[in-house]
């Protein structure tokens, strides 16, 4: 899927400071995690449409088949539902598949196997079988990806018991979370974001894990909490800079795993700031934003000084055209303005509520 290469290549990210450690791109970090996992454990294997082709799944699977052979790194027929079941069946029998998809949209073809089988088997058979598998996919955005190639499906899957969902925002975490996901004994969805693929970051060598289910504070602040994951955190950090220029100090919480959700880190930050903006790459309705907003009002109510706010996608399919894409997708400014409104809400309690 090379069409958006140009777009992604044109994105500009801050260059990390090489004195802090080794710099890798996001794609390289994922590739390294896969290499380590394949080296580490003979039961790990990688499958997916095109994982062995020259595009190498955005480069993340580059060289893997050459190194680990076609039995452990292989292309699949275009049969998402069956391949998800195959991955689950292999996982139920001692293997650790990593099943990679170009887009989360295609995971929906396998909803039955993922939701009704892989996620439930361990519970249904009273813990006799484990299903250690990773379902990896890269969220699309822009360049006419449109309604059928841009879906962020974490909100759709958030309610599914037995499933874990990981959404890294940095090369460091992309590697460490993927390793944790592969070593986890449950089905874990890892949703990457296409726009992070060229981002560079400090990535330690060798094997390390970022624990699943634990968020991290990316920026401390006293006035408002911006919380989310993946590319939304990229925007959240930019928003924090905009806000800082106005004297508003935003705390930015990167959840890293949205299921299980690190409720503690959210509630703790809320205790400090009293205000919360939930950000997500997906639709706001009934998804990650809604869960965070509800959580804040349920378990953090006493700390709330203003309404909760959410910044994600409107209840509209993704348009394919460039002009409409710019309007459809939230940017840092939109997050900043949501945060600003919360901070100002104190002054005018009858306001935006």
């Amino acid at each position: 899927m090379p069409w958006d290469e140009g777009l992604v290549a044109s994105l500009v990210y801050d260059r990390p400071d090489p004195s802090e450690g080794r710099i890798l791109s996001y794609v390289q970090a994922i590739n390294e995690a896969l290499v380590l996992a394949l080296e580490h454990d003979p039961s790990v294997f990688v499958m997916g449409q095109g994982v062995d082709d020259p595009s190498a799944m955005f480069g993340t699977t580059r060289g893997l088949q050459q190194r680990f052979g076609p039995a452990r790194v292989f292309d699949t027929p275009l049969s998402e539902e069956s391949m998800m079941g195959v991955a689950a069946g292999a996982a139920m029998n001692g293997m650790r598949p990593v099943y990679m998809h170009n887009r989360p949209d295609f995971v929906l073809l396998a909803a039955n196997q993922l939701i009704t089988h892989a996620s439930k088997v361990h519970f249904m058979d009273n813990g006799q079988t484990t299903v250690p598998m990773v379902v990896w996919a890269a969220i699309g955005r822009g360049w006419g990806s449109g309604a059928q190639h841009s879906q962020s499906i974490q909100g759709i899957l958030l309610g599914v018991p037995g499933l874990k969902i990981v959404m890294p925002s940095t090369p460091h975490d992309a590697k460490g979370l993927l390793l944790s996901a592969i070593l986890d004994n449950n089905p874990v969805c890892v949703f990457e974001h296409r726009w992070l693929m060229r981002k560079d970051g400090i990535v330690p060598e060798g094997f390390y894990r970022v624990p699943l289910g634990r968020g991290i504070c990316r920026r401390t602040g006293r006035d408002v909490t911006i919380v989310g994951a993946s590319h939304a955190i990229e925007l959240g950090m930019q928003a924090a800079l905009l806000l800082a220029a106005e004297g508003i100090e935003a705390e930015v919480i990167d959840l890293r795993t949205i299921k299980p959700l690190d409720e503690g880190i959210i509630l703790e930050s809320l205790k400090k700031t009293g205000r919360i903006v939930a950000v997500d790459t997906a639709w706001m309705k009934g998804g990650v934003c809604a869960e965070i907003g509800c959580l804040a009002a349920e378990k953090g109510y006493a700390d709330l000084k203003a309404p909760v706010a959410r910044v994600g996608l409107p209840d509209i399919p993704a348009p394919a055209g460039y002009t409409l894409e710019q309007i459809y997708y939230p940017d840092a400014a939109r997050i900043a303005s949501a945060a600003r409104a919360l901070v100002r809400w104190d002054a005018a309690p009858a306001g935006p509520g």
């Binding site: 294997f45 539902e81 519970f123």
Partner: protein
């Protein structure tokens, strides 16, 4: 009107397969079928008492396929099946008590009461998994075969599927993948002509299921599913092929269920199928037909059958008593195993 006629050779169909088989083997098959029949009948008889608060899908009439197939499998070979689990579970050697405890929703059921009748499992004997979603087990079994192939285990995977399961796209996908990778798997299709109360003719154009399967590039045979020896022989051939690294096979066995799709009793009188159709197939009841054959062959007589019935009846009575005395799960059980450690 009889839509689906029996087209096999009846009792005449055994001879060709029986030659050279030790009597103990043949008697074992008969015993296994009779035992399943009696267990199913007892479940059915007691179902209205509402102690088994779980859906049931009886295999009465379809015993020959499970028993014949499993006779060709070893303990390390794995079996996956659908919602209609009782036959495969018992034929593969699943523990009767654990099964009945599961049906009675007890903590010591084979799935701790969390699966119910549609999710019987006994990993010790290779009854590795079931799905209540039609077609759900097919790719999972294919994945198990992939694992066996990757780990170079000397193991065959068999998955049972119904005729309607061939309509699920995932089955076509799985056949393709198994053929592509030459996986050690046998797709065992029990064609009982119905999906719940829908006859095959409202779901598929006139075609033969095994020919459709063959188009996925694997040997596919049609067998008389009331003939336990035919099921055994077809499975043995397929297993040998799989173990030789030659890949998957598909077996279509024409069978008939004598009872309703789910629950106790037959429901033919509701009109979706003709009583005469069921009666025709009851005349080739797989258990009685084989019994008659063994009697004719001088391997079995009335006294031996009586003793067998008696022994089976005792086992069943014991197992039910055990299940009814078994403990219920407790709240703490609910929170276990949502995630694996």
């Amino acid at each position: 009107m009889i839509r689906y006629h029996y087209t096999g050779d009846g009792i005449g169909g055994f001879g060709r397969f029986a030659a050279g088989q030790p009597p103990a083997f043949l008697l074992g098959l008969h015993r296994s079928m009779l035992r399943i029949r009696r267990i199913e009948e007892e479940i059915e008889r007691r179902y209205h008492e509402d102690q088994m608060k779980t859906p049931i899908h009886l295999v009465i009439g379809q015993e020959a396929t499970s028993v014949g197939c499993c006779a060709a499998l070893g303990d390390t070979d794995l079996l996956y099946s659908s919602h209609r689990t009782h036959g495969t579970y018992l034929a593969k050697g699943g523990d009767l008590k654990a099964m009945l405890c599961e049906l009675h929703c007890r903590a010591n059921g084979c799935a701790g009461s969390r699966g119910g009748s549609m999710h019987l499992i006994d990993k010790g004997v290779g009854l590795a998994g079931t799905s209540a979603v039609v077609g759900g087990a097919v790719p999972i079994a294919t994945g198990a075969a992939l694992a066996a192939w990757m780990k170079q285990e000397d193991r065959v995977i068999v998955v049972f599927l119904g005729d309607a399961t061939t309509e699920e796209g995932v089955t076509s996908e799985s056949l393709n993948f198994a053929a592509l990778k030459r996986l050690p798997i046998v797709f065992f299709c029990e064609n009982n002509f119905y999906s719940v109360q829908s006859p095959l003719e409202t779901r598929q154009p006139p075609r033969e299921l095994h020919k459709w399967a063959a188009a996925h590039e694997m040997p596919a045979v049609l067998i008389d599913g009331v003939n336990v020896l035919a099921a055994f022989e077809a499975t043995r051939t397929a297993v040998a092929r799989a173990k030789a690294g030659e890949g998957p096979s598909f077996i279509e066995a024409r069978v008939y269920r004598f009872r309703a799709h789910a629950g106790a009793g037959d429901d033919s009188r509701t009109g979706y199928r003709d009583e005469a159709e069921r009666q025709q197939w009851e005349r080739v009841c797989p258990v009685r037909l084989f019994e008659a054959y063994l009697v004719e062959a001088g391997l079995l007589n009335a006294t031996a059958i009586d003793a067998l019935e008696h022994e089976i009846a005792e086992e069943i009575a014991d197992a039910f008593a055990y299940a009814l005395e078994s403990p219920n799960p407790t709240e703490a059980d609910l929170y276990r195993h949502v995630y694996a450690e």
